[in-house]
Symmetry: C2
Subunit: 242 residues, 2 copies
């Protein structure tokens, strides 16, 4: 393994400030070094480009270094369903362990990712047994996120919107961004698609939350005025049944 190869393919996870949320989360520094050797150099995508496509052969797990993306699924009629928004430090590809990816991921802005290639996962898991556990942990998290979304999808429109914004705010905070002000990289149509709402309803719900002094909206710019109030909007729910 010559120096040129290393420069080209080896990215130290220590150079990336996302260790605490990305794959290395539960690993020791020695283990991270082993992981770093397996990780493919970071790759840059422009807005609108696919990181991977539904139906593609599984090539590995990707981690976002910077930028954001949308996780989508196309149904039999070709309709797009936005399953989630992905932020820096978040992983993707766990939908593909059954040989082929079952979803697509599209960059919402300029995006850089690094990849843990499929062919290396086996060997690295031998060398770093705790990595297996970490990957299961992440996979488990993806399951729980999907299930949470299913529960949220049953809430009325205003609560769904409140959850979406709170969730984004919290995730941004965990990643070192401001939780109180951010630019949604999504159109109203994409938000509606993701939340299962018509674009008109998206407009109305944003206005509603603004009227309640919980947020302020200017185009894609969102300011969270009252995060606790926003959370109460959905976390109370119908407190009738116990």
């Amino acid at each position: 393994m010559n120096k040129n190869f290393q420069e080209k393919y080896q990215v130290s996870c220590e150079n990336c400030n996302l260790d605490s949320i990305c794959i290395p989360r539960g690993l020791s520094s020695d283990e991270i070094k082993n992981l770093s050797l397996a990780v493919r150099k970071k790759n840059v995508f422009n807005k609108g480009e696919f990181i991977y496509r539904q139906g593609d052969k599984f090539t590995g797990i990707f981690a976002i270094q910077s930028g954001s993306a949308k996780l989508i699924n196309y149904d039999l009629s070709g309709n797009e369903h936005i399953l989630n928004i992905l932020l820096p430090g978040e992983l993707m590809g766990f939908d593909g362990f059954n040989d082929h990816y079952q979803c697509s991921v599209i960059a919402l802005d300029t995006l850089s990712v690094c990849e843990l290639p499929a062919e290396r996962i086996d060997e690295i898991c031998q060398k770093v047994p705790t990595l297996v556990k970490e990957l299961f942990r992440h996979s488990s998290e993806k399951i729980n996120i999907s299930q949470e979304h299913l529960i949220v999808s049953r809430l009325p429109a205003d609560q769904r919107m409140a959850f979406f914004l709170s969730d984004l705010s919290i995730r941004l905070k965990n990643r070192g961004f401001s939780p109180y002000e951010f630019n949604l990289p999504l159109s109203r149509e994409d938000i509606g698609n993701h939340l299962g709402l018509a674009i008109e309803t998206v407009s109305r719900m944003l206005r509603l939350l603004q009227n309640k002094k919980l947020i302020t909206v200017h185009q894609k710019n969102i300011k969270i005025v009252d995060l606790n109030g926003l959370k109460k909007q959905y976390s109370i729910q119908n407190s009738t049944k116990l």
Copy 2:
């Protein structure tokens, strides 16, 4: 390891006729033997009993040998959300790799399960590397099922019901049961909870599908009269957008 111990704790996966859908799916017979040694003896639960509870410490992955169960999540208000129905050969517990189970599983009738204990997963994965891959595969499948449910939750009530029944029919067939007649182990309330419908709507949709000559309903007994027709009910969707 004496004979008594083996009788008590060792269940050969070869004795169970669910190899093709359960954990052993992709493993060789030698690997299955190794797996068999790690699997804990089967355990029996009565209707209404918990296999594991949301918040419990992760103890392992369970496989249903016989009977059925419901996978549920309790929200902050204590409301129950039925995320899925689990059938023989199906696995549960992938929601727990993050130290604690995020869901509960309750037996819908007399249920027998076998368990791959957490403390053995590490060692067995060392001995049987292909098992790691198999577990990731199953975990991946759980993700995809959740995401499919999210998409289905956007469909109108009749299509949701049609999907639910078709899906059950297909899964029962894959497990060697009749796909054309089965007894739902769920009350109308549970069906409604799972599909996000009021119990009255569940009644109405079952009647609708019966009027369309796609099924016949007698209490909990369901006969699938026209499986293809049932599938068409939802797979066409709005064919307007391409």
